[in-house]
Amino acid sequence: MASMGGEGFDEFVDAELPGLLRLGHLLTGSPHDAWDLTQDALVRVGLAWSRIDANGNSAGYAQRTMARLHVSRWRRLRREVLGGSAEGPTIPDRAADAELAATLRTALQQLGRQQRTAVVLRYYCDLPLQDIADYMGCSVGGAKSQLSRGTSRLRDFLSTDPRIESRVKEGR
């Protein structure tokens, strides 16, 4: 079958979809919104595929598109874009990880959209500030401020959780 998205795009989607969905989940907090965000981003990537593929780092482009879409939806619409799910979090059975994921989910929900995006880009995508600013479409100072405030709020929230605190003390 001929590729509908361009040479190599189909393979890119197959390979990157799980990782991008995961990023979407972290950004939006909802598996359903994650799918919507990822789909929107990948469609844009597909439309620009010939240009992106020539430059390399297609995955980075897709991540950047997701981050910008996530932030710009709020900016552009100036209203609450509804989403989310009535389902509880997808928590694995392993107790320690489940505890962490559940606590982090709650903690991330305390953050504003931009703070959350900055935190996810920093700690999940391991991006430097310059790239975070680029991905979010803001200045380095703006990204730094969002990251700092987001991290600080996360720290405040997580440090009140005795289970997390004990894990930190144990140096795990």
Binding site: W35, R79, G88, P89, I91, L104, Q109, Y124, L154
Partner: protein, 328 residues
């Protein structure tokens, strides 16, 4: 490199835990490829139409942009070249309108059922961003006060079905949503009543194995607040949220009743009665905690007498709000 705080290491680790994995929906990759293909076709149509408009020296794009549409961002030109809008595959659904323009519209997750527009509830009000609150928010997720979790067991009789997923379609910029339209729900999704709620207020749908709950945003025939809120006798606490702080809460049953009654009795101006956004003033979020643990939340703009973008006639609601916030 600066050493990372142990808590930040925990965050980094937690973000990599399997809890954040999202199952890849069946045919997801195929859906994306189809969407790319479809958007390419739309682009070609838009480019052709744009050239035609330029040649004819018709400032159509500007005109389209000036019209504006709720919930939409539009980049559009006349639709002489865009291909036919697909027919719904669901039996009994009306035919689509004949488009006279093309638009790329950013839809929010809404449904239209019998002329009423519903917005999808978010799992946790804390995730809402400050801004102009137009759509409702409610909580039934992990942060919700127990025991308000809604499940598929709460679904009742079928009250409607999604005929068109508008995010899939090419539509004129002045398209008016109709019963059976949805922003993102798949065509054929059944809309069902929810136990404990009037269907005009809340309905549910199963989406990708999960329950999605939709709450009334607006209805054109609403004359008073009671036509917008099915909360009479169900509220156990009210909070006012300004920004991310919760400066005031009403817990006295009498005060709660007074404020709820004022909201339900408040007369609404017609939908056409619009107030410029720059006149909204300070936003307060009215958050009604219901007996079943769910939350109904609306943006309230005391300076403009607006609830959820509908203008209400002063002064009863404002007086009740003032009394509740000042403690009388």
């Amino acid at each position: 490199m600066k050493a990372m705080h142990p808590l930040e290491e925990e965050v980094r680790r937690a973000m990599r835990s399997p809890g954040w994995d999202v199952p890849v929906p069946p045919e997801a990759a195929q859906d994306i490829r189809r969407a790319v293909s479809r958007r390419r076709g739309q682009r070609r149509g838009l480019v052709t139409a744009g050239i035609a408009a330029a040649v004819l020296a018709v400032p159509a794009a500007a005109e389209v942009a000036m019209r504006g549409l709720d919930r939409t961002t539009i980049s559009a030109v006349p639709q002489s070249t865009v291909k036919a809008v697909p027919q719904s595959t669901v039996k009994g659904c009306p035919p689509p309108v004949t488009p006279d323009g093309a638009a790329i519209i950013e839809w929010v997750d809404f449904i239209n059922l019998d002329g009423r527009e519903y917005g999808r509830l978010v799992p946790n009000p804390q995730t809402l961003v400050p801004g102009v609150a137009i759509f409702p928010g409610a909580s039934f997720g992990p942060m919700a006060p127990v025991p308000g979790d809604l499940t598929r067991q709460d679904l009742g009789e079928r009250v409607g079905v999604v005929c068109y997923r508008l995010s899939d379609l090419t539509l004129p910029p002045d398209y008016q949503t109709r019963s059976g339209d949805a922003g993102f729900l798949p065509v054929g999704t059944e809309l069902r009543a929810l136990e404990g709620y009037a269907p005009w207020f809340r309905v549910g749908a199963m989406v990708r194995g999960g329950l999605a709950v939709y709450e009334l945003v607006d209805r054109p025939d609403a004359e008073t607040g009671a036509d917008l809120f099915d909360i009479s006798g169900k509220v156990r606490r009210i909070a006012f949220l300004a920004g991310r702080r919760e400066p005031a809460a009403v817990t006295d049953p009498q005060d709660i009743r007074t404020l709820v009654d004022a909201l339900l009795a408040a007369k609404l101006y017609p939908v056409e009665h619009r107030i410029p956004e720059d006149a909204y003033g300070t936003e307060v979020r009215l958050r009604f905690f219901l007996d079943d643990g769910t939350i109904v939340q609306r943006g309230y703009f005391p300076d403009a007498d607006l609830v959820n973008a509908r203008a209400v006639e002063p002064p009863q609601l404002q007086q009740a709000y003032d009394a509740a916030t000042t403690g009388r």
